[in-house]
Subunit: 414 residues, 4 copies
């Protein structure tokens, strides 16, 4: 018989191993670079997720726990003001020490103490939520790791291959529109399971009638927008979007390039001809919004998205394209794809729910302090772990960003 404690330990080790598995194809050099301020070097992700367990569990609650190294607290705290001073984010790529080997040793040390802690600490039940937060936190960083690895390799003129290509279905299903009737709906997380504080607070919203597409926009549909001069027509764009396009000379999604043989795209499988039936990804909110306007449609609000996805697929379908499927790109899966594949931009700014309350202490900085100037994305991506995502999960990014696995679902009023 497996005990709860054994299950917990297994889950802990399994999540931790996944981070290392994702890094297995990398060369040592790949762990160091930070070619964009939003990218963190892989070595930093591996150390920071480890620091999270050390800082929020072992150091305060571990019996006689001695931190692995006195400077790691300074080096690997990300943004927790209440946890103390930290190395500047923009300068993570300037550091070459501790080495990757030392960071793996750090992980091993913390893992051994964590296993010990999970077996013997009399605090383990009251701290279960912090433990789970640490694991969910590491799963978030696993997805960031994939964004960052793709950015590091995909901005190198040698276009290195991260993993070989695994073939997928190559046709796009017809688009259907799903109708949601006006009325009061319940939004947000209720009940027992783990969730972030930003989802909390079951509350009511009124929605007017709307329709939502049952599939996401494909690369082919997006190409039509490009070919119709979408990037050059300022009228389609939010004012700040038009400025972003002009200043950065944006002409296509990130990683697209055109050579003699036509449109190519850097993927985690190396440089590839674009498959236009696959879902579009690596678009900013500005691009998603302009595309929708060009179609005479709009993006859904996050409430519309949540209500519709709950009606269409009330339980999470496990055949979705999450990180476990190891496609490492968006693919056609044959069915509806509210889940997995690409994070879908909504038209909703990221703001607190009505009854939002940040947790006390440094953990309260996890979500709340970012609730301005960002937009909500929903549904998870091919980089998300399937036991990490939830129906009420709120992801968020600044509207100009697109190094993450973002995509577009359309909606309309009727």
């Amino acid at each position: 018989m497996i005990t709860t404690q054994e299950i917990t330990t297994r889950r802990y080790l399994s999540v931790r191993q996944q981070s290392e598995k994702l890094c297995a194809p990398l060369e040592i050099e790949d762990f160091v670079a930070q070619p964009l301020v939003d990218v963190s070097p892989p070595r930093w992700h591996l150390a920071h997720t480890t620091w999270f367990f050390e800082n929020f569990l072992l150091t305060p609650y571990g019996k006689n726990y001695k931190p692995f190294h006195p400077e790691y607290h300074f080096l690997f705290n990300s943004y927790y003001v209440q946890a103390g001073e930290r190395w500047q984010r923009a300068e993570r790529g300037y550091l070459t020490r501790p080495t990757v080997k030392e960071i793996f040793a750090y992980r091993k040390y913390v893992d051994e103490h964590m296993v010990e802690f999970l077996e013997h600490s009399n605090k383990k039940y009251e701290l279960a939520n912090v433990l789970e937060l640490g694991l969910q936190h590491e799963q978030q960083h696993q997805e960031l790791l994939l964004y960052d690895i793709k950015y590091i390799l995909g901005h190198n003129p040698l276009f290195p291959i991260y993993v070989p290509r695994k073939e997928s279905e190559n046709s796009a299903p017809p688009r259907n529109w799903y109708h949601v009737t006006s009325g009061n709906y319940s939004i947000g997380h209720s009940g027992e399971g783990f969730h972030f504080d930003n989802e909390e607070g079951d509350h009511t919203v009124f929605l007017h009638d709307f329709e939502i597409a049952d599939s996401v926009v494909t690369k082919g549909e997006y190409l039509e927008f490009i070919e119709a001069g979408g990037y050059e027509d300022a009228v389609l764009w939010l004012d700040e979007g038009a400025k972003w396009v002009a200043e950065n000379e944006i002409k296509s999604p990130m990683y697209w390039m055109r050579d003699d043989q036509g449109w190519m795209e850097y993927t985690l499988n190396g440089l590839q001809p674009i498959n236009f039936n696959d879902p579009i990804t690596h678009v900013s909110f500005y691009e998603a919004d302009a595309f929708a306007r060009w179609k005479g449609l709009r993006l859904p609000t996050e409430q519309e998205w949540e209500v519709a996805s709950k009606q269409i697929c009330p339980t999470q379908p496990y055949n979705c394209n999450f990180v476990e499927s190891e496609y490492h790109r968006p693919v056609q899966t044959g069915g509806n794809d509210f889940w997995g594949n690409v994070w879908e931009w909504t038209s909703s700014p990221y703001r607190p729910y009505p009854f939002y309350k940040a947790a006390p202490g440094a953990i309260g900085e996890y979500n709340g302090k970012f609730m301005v100037n960002q937009m909500v994305l929903r549904g998870g991506s091919f980089g998300t772990s399937k036991d990490h995502i939830r129906l009420t999960y709120r992801n968020f990014f600044h509207p100009h960003l697109r190094w993450m696995f973002s995509g577009i679902r359309l909606a309309r009023h009727i």
Copy 2:
């Protein structure tokens, strides 16, 4: 008997004259400077508002109308992409010609043609809405004029007086909390009168129970926040707010300074000792948000604000402190002050209402393209014309801005 046409002409001339009246205390030099990218030189406001009538009425619809000057279209278009190329906003202060005198001649020329147009054009009825938009547009610029004049004079070490001080009531009323019961409410403009497209689309929202303060925060209350170290405590701030404070070394509202005699403040009446019973103004959203958090409270959403103000003062009280009262600063008016005094930051990002549709053509750029990364403010200020404001009026600014007459009203869940 006064005809409708006479009323229209009178209103046209009256609005136009108000712009010139606001500039009367200025020296010629004051019309030229642009000490902040968000500030426009007063000469530009006077010309741009005139261009609006020329470009959207006289040029397309005026009989044989000849534009005053061929280059003014380029010089005085603000941001209307569909109206053609324009001079860069950040470089408005680099221009010294046309002179103020020439701009007044431009105004006179356009006014004469507009009066003629209003009397004789057979288009005057179908264009009534564009005319009214032009007048409302000019009233918006009149308020911007006051922000910009204050910024220009208030950042000059000589601290020139714009107008002499007019005395006001000097005590703050006790704060009461007004309760709104949960339920579905109607939001947005319905019915006939003029309104901007961003208010349009009467729609339903569900609100949970909440309470809202019947008076705005005073300078004295805000001083307590300063003295309690509010600016130094990063935990009170949104992450981007904390960065804004640090980078700009913000330690108090704009225009506050401390000398040997204590706290002083630049006002349109020159440098003055601060009256701590008056409403706080010149705070950014970041400051309003941090102040509310420090109080254990929050800002209202724009929907909460609209519902509460509709219940508390269903008709606009004309004793409010609008620009016509000529205080040119926030004062205590003895009653509730949902209207006038200071624009009140809400916790709502500026986004389209459910049924929002931009008008066709350049006029459609008026509001819609700014619906990202800004926050809604409600209620008008001491710089607003009383026939310009409405219950459903949505003003909007970026969260870091504070050269406008912004202030704070608090709310709470119960």
Copy 3:
């Protein structure tokens, strides 16, 4: 009989009046703008030159002198660290007060006290050098005034005329090469007359044989460089020059533009077709240097320039094109033009002469602290006063600047 004192007073008043004369064609608005960090608003020049007399003569030595206004010291000090705090240079265009009228009153007040001082002070002889420095300083600012007025008017799409055009000779003389024999030469100012500290210290240099052109490069010669693709050929440029060209998209001298009728140029006489026989002006050191390289030639060193000009025109020829000729542009004058017309870039960085010693106190900051990263120009321009220039005069600007009246003379080794 005119006394020395009368001569001094006359000269003082004459220099002071010249500043006001140069400003006579301006509108009030033109006195305010600062469209480039290197440009100062004309109102600032008028006040700063006045402050110089107030600060270095009247305040320390005037009998019971009371400064005109307590804040002007802060507002109108330029860069004299030892004279105290000052308003930021980059923000001079943000100020609209004191008004132009008030600044003229300030000038009048200081002039009256200066005349009194020149008549009655018993210090007038020992301070003669400071007085003369103040006058030379004002003459330098008169030239800067012309640069800045041209920049302000010439970057306005209305291209206002400063003064009407005065016709000039329209053919370029043939180019002759003047030979200087190798040997030791004396450089720098010796003897009695006024000179800046940076010219001081008669010293010896050895020069190898060289030849120098007896006329400056014309616009026509420079056009050949443009048409030969000079701006696109990185090989012709210093590395920092090539970057400057690329970043600023430089394709021609400042103020040149091409329309349907061919090459046009903004001049102080308004927009004009380019006269290709006139000397080239408004080129940076990078452009002068690349042009010379393209010709297979080089710029002279400042020592070569000084020795050659001393041999060719040992006394200053008074028919040169200085500000008094009122062409307000470079013209062909028929003879050699070492003097006037355009400041000629030399290949010499601006560094101290062997025996250089800065004067004690704030006046010592006049020249010495700028002796890095700038290049020497020689000879004066059409904006220079003829009694301001000297054979040993060293002007200096950063190599990327070209809003001043700069030009090119070529040299070669033999």
Copy 4:
């Protein structure tokens, strides 16, 4: 008997091995980072120096030579416009591939072909100068490697040790002043041996009498400047130097820091207490110039330096502190130290000698295009190879830089 060809091959291999020897103490991660735009990642140095031989010898002249990889030409060209497009310098730290292992394979491949070439090519004699340029170029990069390794390790809060400390003499000799008599002197390189084009052109200069110190400034002398408030006294600084100090909050040489135990310094031997008898290093020209002014002295010109050093030590003394001594820091060597230890800032801007002519083709870009806005340094440092330096060697850096091994020698007129 050893043939000339064997000597050449030995020298080639010896220089090449030195680069790899300098990198031996590094971890793979250290090869990747670029924490300052002036720093290049060590992996880049190793590849770029290899590309130099490939691009300028093997590709054009090697028999059937096939470049190692088609993209390396783009990746590892530094600034040779005439050699084609190249990866942006500021983004060298963004690249993680080719890996260090692949770069070592690249080196091996090129070395094998070079040895073959040196043995068999019938071009080897006529290309001897390009070969030597490639070796001297690699030696320059070896020194840069040390600057960059120190910067990468020294800006890491773990302060890793590059090599263990080797003890040295710990007392400073008394300072003597050496007199040089006025007269004409010959400057620049003449005769056979290898030299850069910027040294070429034996020419005459006249020098006035001067005295020059026979030892460089020590850390102790520099500390007095700090303690006397040198950094805070703007009067001591060039204007651009004072701005550099203010903007960068400079308070001491690079790598100095103060903790509870007093002044510490990062060295290539790790964090160490400062030995105040050792020569000062890591100062900018601005600091060297301000220090000299504070002492009432000045820096020598590069001509003074060359003449004096030729008189004092006409042949290069081999007991100097060059890279072969493996101190990896400046030390006291007991004798005069014109050579080695620290590069000595001169007061001379880096400009062409009178008869300077760039070589044709891309190699002509080696020196000439950098001759603006930089200052000359003389004498070599503890990071220089002893067979790389020459009496006439002109090094150059921008005046604000100080990550290189720069120092101060004083001079004075008499």
